[in-house]
Symmetry: C2
DNA sequence: GCCCGTCATAAGCATTCGTGATGCGAGGTG
DNA sequence: CACCTCGCATCACGAATGCTTATGACGGGC
């Protein structure tokens, strides 16, 4: 299970073709064929169906493992490269959209900052692989509880902000007058699924603990990145939205009611490569210093 | 960063010697020397000090990455080997000591079971690498919240039991008369640290959220595996112990007071290789079926 | 000061790995 | 229906990698 073989395997699957993969990797088609053959004999398994080229069930499993492995490998290399590299004068930050709010934006240095908005799950990856010097992720957690992040590499996470959660409903909604809402009251409601602009509902489904698939049905799925649009959708009656309270206010036609049970907050965390906090100076230190104080 | 090179690197560090590592790996000393040299030139870093042989700071970092990588690699191989292997007639269970209680023990099949008690953090590893067919881990979490387990490989975790937590104190202790205790009341107390027999206090320190190092000081460290001994130590006044309530009762000279705040429970989870739940029959299915019902 | 243990380096050799050429089977085309 | 074409498998060869043996360099112990 040489990483090179895994690398060609995943590209073959991704492109659905040996020859295409060979082109992309700079090999000949023959080499790719031999790589796959080597993997299959090594594992004594058939990994791919040819014609069409698609992974077998065993191949699917290998794909999961291979992805994680190659990621960790890249992360390791990036991490160790940092050791030798000269301290950077610029700051690359990867952030999930909702992790960008007054507190985090204010901490950014005045110059030399590149800010990249990426999906939530890609933030740890970006930091681990060195694409970004630091990351900002948001998510839902119990108060002062750390987020559950996939550990692709040794990263340190520190909480930088916690805000209440609010349910956004049309002003005409029967529950709009409440001062607080319990999740139990909303299990049967229709929700807006917005993985990027909003907060994924998986966590709610898990917390609620009901049988899988029950509750929190999706009315409409919004794949854009703008929370105000999401709130507007809620105002228009397309379903309920879940947002950090500060983002949910002042939306025409919508009312934001804080979620009071279960006790959950919208939490933002700063992600750094483990060991990077030792750096005493530079833009990274400036940024993290301002965030932690 | 060939896994072979990493493998020799970690053994060199572990044994503190090139020659020893060569012997263990079945290489010549020369090969080991070249492996290390290859790594160092590839990363353009000095990884080891010679004489004595010890990792440099950069080497320490590599060690972390290498460990995780090799683990995942073994896990991947084990997982895919399972695909080809014939269904097993026996059941190997790796369990942390406190995960073994009435509920889990009752679910074990009558014959063909090997039960291995391992430290908490080794359970996921054992399941991932195929040393065990299934795992039982215990830990502390908020009610109906999953445990935080290191993801060494795609594993599925399902909760099988939750019990209240109790603080064990000498009957003569001023707080022994309470019906419930808040963690805040106990920050300044002396505690028994018992990573195997008891519940590690890290989680409490994290939940309490105080400044690092403050609170929950350790009076005595017990490295044995018997919770009753731990409770007896608490009875003898060596410090407070934290145990699942059922284990903390009926200890002479000690009183168990439930922990009421923060709301935490002692949770036991079943760990299976992801995808293994598909198996319809055999001892694994019997075990998991009984646990989930 | 000599010797022994340990790591580094050099040369030789076997194995591995990638390339180019060729074979083979499936699907499309006239 | 024969033929062509496209795409993966296989083969043989040259290059490169990796391991071994042999030797050198350096420290620490007696």
């Amino acid at each position: 299970m040489d990483p090179h073989l895994l690398r060609t395997y995943v590209t073959v699957v991704r492109l659905g073709s040996f020859s295409e993969a060979a082109r992309e990797l700079g090999y000949t088609q023959s080499a790719v064929s031999q790589h796959i053959a080597a993997l299959e004999t090594d594992l004594a398994l058939s990994l791919l169906t040819r014609r069409p080229v698609a992974p077998t069930p065993a191949g699917e499993r290998l794909l999961e493992h291979a992805g994680a492995l190659l990621l960790r490998l890249d992360a390791a290399r990036a991490d160790l490269d940092r050791f030798a590299a000269a301290p950077r004068a610029t700051l690359d930050v990867a952030a999930s959209p909702l992790a960008l709010h007054a507190r985090t934006l204010a901490a950014l240095p005045a110059t030399g900052v590149t800010l990249r908005a990426v999906p939530r799950e890609r933030v740890p990856v970006a930091v681990a692989t060195g694409e970004a010097d630091a990351g900002l992720v948001d998510g839902v957690a119990a108060p002062s509880d750390p987020l559950r992040l996939p550990d692709v590499a040794p990263l340190t996470a520190t909480g930088v902000a916690e805000e209440p959660l609010a349910v956004v409903l049309p002003t005409t909604h029967p529950l709009a007058g409440r001062t607080g809402l319990r999740l139990d009251d909303l299990v049967d409601a229709r929700w807006l699924e917005a993985p990027t602009a909003g907060i994924p509902l998986d966590r709610l489904r898990a917390v609620h603990g009901g049988p899988a698939g029950r509750g929190f049905r999706t009315a409409l799925r919004y794949e854009g990145g703008d929370p105000r649009t999401l709130a507007a959708l809620a105002a228009a009656g397309h379903g309920l939205a879940l947002l950090p309270l500060p983002l949910a206010t002042d939306v025409p036609g919508a009312t934001a009611v804080p979620l009071v049970a279960p006790r959950l907050v919208h939490r933002t965390e700063l992600l750094l490569p483990a060991g990077a906090d030792a750096e005493p100076t530079g833009p990274v230190a400036e940024f993290t210093g301002r965030l932690k104080s």
